[in-house]
């Protein structure tokens, strides 16, 4: 299903516009795809250019300008639920493309035909018209039709149906830190805010703390001595850390703990 714009004023929906053309214009004059008959709106106020599943909003040098989510803008890459404001009118952009299709189809690498032209596509004409594809479609290969908004032809080969899986959420990590207990840096605290935190110096003695969906792990990377956790030397496998574990690396002790 194509993305769409929903025109409203003062909370009352006026009309829905599917984005089913490469370029749709918004303005006061009757020839626009989305006509807003109001003197605050320029004759040709803005355009929405759609390339496959992505849409871009462009101000056509309008007198009163436009805003997206409250920020005035000239050009904007539209994201689902963006709110475009033109004078008193609001246009909501909805594009739930991904959630309606199996992500498996989406992740599949596909080949765009024809082979690329050297020049990058222009905004007004996103993709060159397609010359006859050298390979003909047949029974065994399914050519995924691009949404009607695009002039590009996408060729892909069928995959066996795969269970739809929700897009991964940014995992909610429980905050954690290590505090140095001994040595010149004793008392220093290091928040584990990255997916991978290095302890030690590459080339000499290194262990890394990795943040994974199921917790924090320490892994020995290189160096003469294996790090100790609660007095026991690590092997070559990642070791999951528990609250208040004491790590010892190159003679320095530090404590791992969860925050909050």
């Amino acid at each position: 299903m194509a993305a769409k714009l929903i025109l409203s004023m003062d909370g009352a929906v006026i009309k829905e516009y599917p984005l089913n053309k490469d370029r749709m214009t918004i303005g006061r004059h009757a020839h626009n795809d989305i006509v807003i008959d109001n003197l605050a709106v320029s004759g040709e106020h803005a355009a929405v250019v759609t390339i496959l599943h992505d849409s871009f909003l462009e101000d056509l040098d309008s007198t009163n300008g436009l805003a997206v989510n409250g920020t005035p803008t000239k050009k904007h890459f539209l994201q689902n639920n963006d709110l475009i404001e033109i004078g008193k009118y609001k246009l909501k952009y909805l594009n739930d493309q991904v959630s309606q299709t199996s992500p498996a189809d989406f992740e599949k690498t596909m080949v765009l035909r024809p082979p690329p032209k050297p020049a990058a596509p222009k905004m007004e004409k996103p993709i060159e018209p397609v010359s006859p594809a050298p390979v003909a479609s047949d029974q065994t290969s399914r050519f995924v039709q691009p949404p009607p908004v695009a002039s590009a032809q996408v060729a892909a080969v069928a995959t066996p149906p795969q269970p739809a899986k929700p897009a991964p959420q940014e995992p909610a990590h429980r905050a954690a830190a290590v505090q140095v207990l001994t040595g010149p840096n004793a008392g220093k605290e290091l928040d584990l805010v990255k997916n991978l935190t290095t302890l030690g110096k590459p080339g000499l003695q290194v262990a890394v703390l990795t943040r994974r969906p199921n917790g924090y792990f320490i892994t020995y990377v290189e160096g003469e001595h294996y790090p100790l956790v609660n007095g026991t030397a690590l092997g070559n496998q990642p070791h999951q850390l528990n609250d208040h574990d004491v790590i010892e690396l190159a003679g320095v002790k530090m404590e791992f703990y969860f925050k909050g």
Binding site: I51, L52, H53, D54, F56, F77, Q79, Q97, P103, A104, F106, E107, K108, T109, M110, V111, L112, P115, P116, A120, P121, K122, M123, P126, P134, V135, S137, D138, Q139, T140, S141, R142, A152, A155, A156, V157, A158, T159, P160, Q162, K165, A167, P168, P171, K194, N195, L196, T198, P202, G203, V206, V208, T210, R212, P213, T219, V221, E222, G223, N236
Partner: protein
Amino acid sequence: MKIADALEIFSQTDAGLVRAHNEDSVACEPICGLVVLADGMGGYNAGEVASGIAVSVVATEIKHHLQNASPIGRDEATGEELGVSLLRNFIQKANVSIFHASQSQPQYAGMGTTIVSGLFYDNRVAVGHVGDSRMYRLRGEMMEAITRDHSLLQEQIDGGIISAADARFSKNKNLVTRAVGIAAEVEPEVHVHDVMTGDIYLLCSDGLNDMVEDEDIQSVLYAMQGNLPLAAEQLVQMAKDNGGRDNVSVILVKVKGQFAVPRSWREKLFGWLTLRNI
């Protein structure tokens, strides 16, 4: 230093968490400093077939040719350095093989593959690629991609339609504009880069860079440069932790020393004379 001693190479490939098949293929030929990675596409097992053909044609043929020739020699047909022309020619040969197979066997119709390959010789690396499989280089603490995807998204970035920062929100990922085996001809992109001791090169399929931010890839390469098998495992693990929606493959190459091609006294003399004349 001999090329096999100058490089440490490690590869890993994994089907990921969602796909039933692994359509990626990798090959390493340490003896001639060659690494090849391909990400196939096509129904049933056609993707594996395509990437398998590509990797084996490029790896076997180049290895075979380098038994009796030096990569710094000249290709008599084109005047190019042999290392460069071998990469280009055999990617093209792989293209023809895959295209013919797909034309003659209905179950393989429409199959194709991306490819990225590196041939290390004479303190340099020739990099040939088609599609969106990438090569990154870590030098010091700085990591950068040294291939540019042949993809719709990259063309949009180049055309100024979308910023590189916005590109990660695009819903048009995974649309490649060039692939091996989908048409009678293909134009591989080949560039030569200087190599420095300590560099780490990463070849990967989009199953890695679509799932893991460049910043995280950089921290793994930097922190784990002393332990390549662990670095490879960690990269694959991160892609899976983030969803693992595609096959993920990596090849890591660490440059441990110089590997200039030894020149004969005659070449050295000519080189010296040329220098004197300048």
